[in-house]
């Protein structure tokens, strides 16, 4: 039934949709026409063509992404899942072996060591990097003279290519001639052996990573600048001191960004490769990655198994185990985040 408010006009060219059923006549009496009565509409064929055309245009616009995702992500992922159940060496045909690659992984001490090294990064490097980048951002947000220069300088390491920064840090951490131990020497401290030590090689990697956290710091800085000054002022009027304002205003406002950086950090740590490979001497071949394989992270080991030993099936299984571990980490983090992440305008049901 169509009702019209007096005085309103139908927009030119618009058509009223009529529903089947009782119809109001021009005299106001209701009559049952006995069968549905429709205004003549465009032919179904033309409507379908228009719809199809829209879909085709849509597909055309998303095709670069679609082709990339299907061809370069999903298809290789599906293949690697298949290869994880096979013996495959790139050159020859694959042979189905069931779950034996996964069973072998359970008893592979090098994989366990590599996983242990990787978890170290997740547990130590990710939280420390988050703390440091948050501290960076808080400092960069201070209204001080030369603020732009400080921001540029602190972001600069992000611009250095990964391999170049790894080589730079080999020298910075050189126990005899390196900058770090030289500075420690000024205070009569005998600096550690860093990359030449089983104990200190991973902290060295963490230190280098903290140097390059400009990206995360910029994200936090953007978040800080998005916090309404009214909120801070209100807290100040209520008697909140600096810590209280940080704890109860700034931190909740930044919590979605902390979650974002934590997820990105965990994924990056689980796939840590280039710096470890370069700093651990992987490029020289036939040698352990770091003293006693202390820098052999999971993906570094995966690379060696796949491309030095040609055990691509086994490496694929390793890749899927790592993927599942990453999924679990992120799922747990997202689950826990409900308790501490505050989204503006969103209320927990």
């Amino acid at each position: 039934m169509i009702t019209r408010t007096p005085g309103t006009k139908r927009p030119p060219g618009s058509r009223a949709r009529r529903t089947p059923g009782p119809e109001t006549s021009s005299t106001g009496s209701t009559r049952d026409l006995g069968r549905p009565h429709f205004r003549r509409s465009p032919s179904p064929r033309r409507r379908l063509t228009l719809r199809r055309r829209r879909i085709l245009w849509g597909l055309l616009f998303v095709s670069p992404w679609l082709i990339g995702t299907l061809g370069l992500v999903l298809y290789p992922m599906a293949l690697s899942l298949y290869y994880s159940f096979t013996n495959y060496d790139i050159v020859g045909p694959s042979q189905f072996v069931g779950f034996s690659n996964y069973q072998l992984l359970l008893n592979d001490p090098e994989f366990r060591q590599a996983l242990g090294n990787t978890f170290y990064l997740v547990v130590v490097m990710v939280p420390l990097s988050l703390l440091a980048s948050l501290a960076y951002a808080l400092l960069l947000n201070l209204p001080v003279y030369g603020q732009r220069t400080f921001r540029t300088v602190l972001y600069l390491p992000q611009m250095v290519p990964t391999v170049a920064s790894a080589i730079l840090w080999i020298w910075v951490l050189n126990p005899k001639f390196g900058l770090v131990n030289t500075v420690l020497g000024w205070f009569h401290i005998l600096g550690p052996l860093w990359l030449s030590s089983i104990t200190w090689s991973k902290p060295a990697i963490v230190l280098m990573n903290i140097w390059g956290i400009g990206g995360a710091a910029i994200i936090f800085l953007a978040g800080l600048q998005g916090i309404s000054p009214a909120l801070v002022d209100a807290a100040r009027v209520d008697g909140a001191n600096l810590w209280h304002r940080f704890r109860h205003v700034t931190l909740p406002a930044l919590s979605p960004l902390i979650l974002f950086n934590a997820v990105i950090g965990i994924l990056a740590a689980m796939q840590y490769f280039t710096q470890a490979f370069v700093m651990g001497g992987g490029d020289t071949g036939d040698t352990s990655i770091g003293i006693g394989n202390s820098l052999q992270f999971a993906v570094v080991y995966l690379y060696e198994v796949a491309f030095a030993d040609l055990r691509v099936g086994y490496a694929s299984a390793m890749g899927w185990v790592l993927f599942m571990i990453m999924l679990i980490f992120v799922a747990v983090l997202l689950k826990v985040s409900i308790r501490w992440v505050h989204y503006e305008g969103w209320r927990q049901q």
Partner: protein, 449 residues
């Protein structure tokens, strides 16, 4: 657009795509292209890949040019800096070069197991190539389970470098011949500075290719490919090397050595004159000559255990295998090239000072290594002769050799700088690699039957 127009457009597109596909197929199918080239009388175009880059790689194009000139029916192009990963990717894509020179012999068995390279036995037999002309260790490093899968080109071998000036200062007459003499000399040559740290080290306690396993007659694998990381003789050699580190303060030794980031670094302690003795390869000499042009150094055999002179002249060899890749465009032509490079090519390169200056390695032919007049320096003459010795052996040609060697290196380092015993460290390697490599060999054998 009318139906007629649409139909026309569709036909035009189909025709264009069809023509493009036809043209592309003509250009990409190797057989058709090669046949066309052959029919037109132009030489067959083939490709060889090498892992070398820079100065060393510069020695290969002139050799290929000579070969191309002598064989007008074929033209070999050279691609440099093709690592094994790239080769395999190209093979998987069906676009591999016909011949390759690998960067390490450790990959020959792995590639043979996976059929990435072709066995050479039938070509060796048909061409009557005498394998006896090659040094035994270099030849063995290019085999897999007794079958020849590669021919040796130039090799690397390892000996004891010693700094004659430091020896004179310490009152040592000559290089040590036994392991106990080496230990004594190492102590004499080690100097501690006022800060308690070493300023000079007598002996750098690392050995390339983990050749410490051979010092007492041990092996890292049997001739049938069984892993023997825990063999008493190999373990004895590792224990000796670990004792050399622990004879001094390991943390101080590590701190002293930490300044160098590899033997090719400009800060290598031997090259800068702060280490008395170091086991390294012939390729180390240019670094020494570059960093310390006036250094008075010598190269000597690696010392043997006291009272066991049968192990004198122990050492290792590794090198650059010439292989024919699966899917080679012309296998016969490929064989002819590697046959020529391994024999005539090596002779030409060794006897031509300009070419040898670039390649600067140890030839794999007995006739060359036993001719000291051909060597550019006395030290190089030593390495050449040393490489042909009966106690020289390569790292075993078994599948997964790269990872296995990596695991041994890691185990030795663990034993040197932590409290883990040599036996336990090597046992872990044995437990991991013995079943793995045995399985790979078994699978390869089954597949080949």
């Amino acid at each position: 657009m009318t139906r007629l127009n649409r139909t026309r457009t569709l036909k035009t597109c189909t025709a264009t795509l069809g023509s493009a596909a036809l043209l592309a197929s003509t250009m990409t199918v190797p057989g058709s292209f090669d046949n066309a080239a052959w029919a037109s009388g132009s030489p067959e175009q083939l490709t060889m890949a090498i892992a070398w880059t820079g100065t060393q790689a510069a020695g290969v194009p002139p050799l290929l040019a000579i070969y191309n000139k002598e064989n007008p029916g074929v033209h070999w192009d050279l691609i440099e800096n093709v690592t094994e990963e790239k080769l395999l990717a190209e093979e998987a894509a069906g676009d591999a070069p016909s011949v390759a020179m690998l960067n390490t012999t450790n990959l020959v068995a792995t590639m043979a197991t996976t059929s990435a390279i072709l066995p050479l036995q039938q070509y060796i037999s048909s061409s009557k190539l005498s394998l006896n002309q090659f040094t035994p260790a270099s030849l063995y490093s290019n085999t897999y389970l007794g079958a020849q899968y590669a021919l040796p080109f130039f090799e690397d071998t390892y000996g004891l470098y010693y700094n004659k000036t430091l020896f004179k200062k310490a009152g040592i007459a000559g290089p040590p011949t036994t392991l106990s003499q080496l230990a004594t000399d190492a102590q004499k040559l080690t100097i501690t500075g006022p800060n308690g740290q070493y300023t000079q080290l007598g002996f750098e306690p690392t050995m390339p290719k983990e050749l410490e396993g051979y010092l007492f007659g041990g092996h890292w694998a049997s001739s049938t490919g069984q892993v023997t990381a825990t063999s008493p003789l190999a373990e004895k050699g590792v224990a000796w090397l670990v004792s050399m580190e622990k004879m001094f303060d390991p943390s101080k030794v590590q701190r002293f050595l930490a300044g160098a980031s590899g033997a090719t670094s400009s800060l290598d302690p031997f090259a800068t004159g702060t280490v008395g003795m170091d086991v390294s390869g012939e390729w180390f000499m240019p670094t020494i000559l570059q960093q310390s042009p006036h250094m008075d150094f010598g190269a000597a055999p690696i010392p043997y255990p006291d009272g066991e002179p049968q192990y004198a002249g122990t050492g290792s060899v590794g090198g650059n295998p010439l292989v024919i890749l699966k899917g080679a465009t012309d296998v016969q032509a490929s064989w002819k090239l590697i046959d020529w490079l391994a024999t005539t090519g090596q002779v030409i390169a060794t006897k031509n000072p300009a070419l040898f200056h670039d390649i600067y390695s140890v030839p794999a032919l007995k006739s060359l290594v036993n001719d000291p007049k051909l060597a550019p320096t006395p030290q190089m003459a030593f390495f050449w002769k040393y490489s042909g010795g009966k106690n020289i052996q390569p790292f075993p040609p078994i599948p997964d050799a790269t990872s296995y060697l990596d695991a041994i290196t890691s185990a030795v380092q663990d034993a040197q700088v932590t409290d883990i015993s040599v036996q336990k460290a090597l046992q872990q390697v044995q437990n991991q690699y013995a079943p793995l490599i045995a399985q790979e060999i078994k699978t390869a054998r089954t597949n080949s039957q």
